[in-house]
Symmetry: C2
Subunit: 201 residues, 2 copies
Amino acid sequence: MPNLDWLPRTILAAAKPRDLRSGEVLFRQGDAASAIFRVEEGRIRMVRYTVDDHVAVLQTVGKGEMLAEAAFFSKTYHCDAIAAVASRVRVYPKAVVLRALKSDSGVALSFISSLTRQVQDLRTRLEQRNIRSARERVTQFLRLSADTRDGSVHIHGTLKELAGEMGLSHEALYRTLAALESEHTIARKKDRIVLVGAKFV
Amino acid sequence: MPNLDWLPRTILAAAKPRDLRSGEVLFRQGDAASAIFRVEEGRIRMVRYTVDDHVAVLQTVGKGEMLAEAAFFSKTYHCDAIAAVASRVRVYPKAVVLRALKSDSGVALSFISSLTRQVQDLRTRLEQRNIRSARERVTQFLRLSADTRDGSVHIHGTLKELAGEMGLSHEALYRTLAALESEHTIARKKDRIVLVGAKFV
DNA sequence: CGAGTGATTGACTTAGATCAATGACCGTGG
DNA sequence: CCACGGTCATTGATCTAAGTCAATCACTCG
């Protein structure tokens, strides 16, 4: 869950937390962009109002993720940020962070590193979504997530959450795992799934 | 299609092109990471071999996109890059680019800007993939892509390509558009779709 | 002028969403 | 210490929307 590890400790330490009730607004489209945030707890929804007067969710930002990075390069926020559930964010004043990025190329480089990793990860997830079949989607996920050493995948959080991240209903995931297990393609342990037939190093 | 607009002109100009036949290998997992690339024409597939001896496509990089950005922070490439069709890439030596990033905070900032935009875009696309119904997926896409001024969406390339990007079969997209049109939710012109009922500014 | 490709529509099939019910587990408050 | 409410995990039954196969038409290009 890092994701802001690239910031100097002094800035990290100085960032104030802010608590939000469910439904509370963090900022609105058009507000002066004064800070970026990191979600410590809960979920924030980035929402935009469309030309035909509907609401569109641009993204849902979860625990550990950064939000409003684009505020760096904009005078104002370009969408609303609203807490989907009771949440806590940490506030990083834009000016302070920007100064650090400008003055210290090491900080900038670390940030770039973090961003490129994110881009890769997101592209991979998008690619996975192109796989229609639940079965293939799940096995590809497991293959890419498997530890090279022992072919096992550690499951963070609940299977239900995982299903959501993979774009499957939780029932579909349960069923698929059950099927794969019964064919001995995988073995399941507590918090861990092992790819049978993985070549160990 | 820009995406490397953040690099100094001198570097852009110095980058050599390289042509690849369909199926040709640009680099292999484990090769020393000596350059990053931009796809000028065609499509490059990033492929990894999994622990259980299968092939997994990590991502498909299309025209205008950058590839192997992560090579900046790694001694070696961590997957294979293979041309899916005859392609042309431009080669940016890692050392040169890295030097520019380190020495010029303006360059670094521009790169960061480009990356944050990419991250936002990818997250939005992922969010869209969570919408199961073709109809909703298409309308959300149109709403978010619509020009604020006149509520119209310019269609780049073919509808077939668009269907692929949205994760729909082309038939499903055609049908959905036909349905939306017959209900007067949208109007179609050459290369352009207009959201009826969009509030014009 | 034919080959190749996109756009479009029809018919059919199926995989996955949805609705439902049950058991296991956990924390908690009386 | 135990009963109760809540959530996850699991499995069954059902339904439907989207994928797949297929045929046609319109265009473009050499």
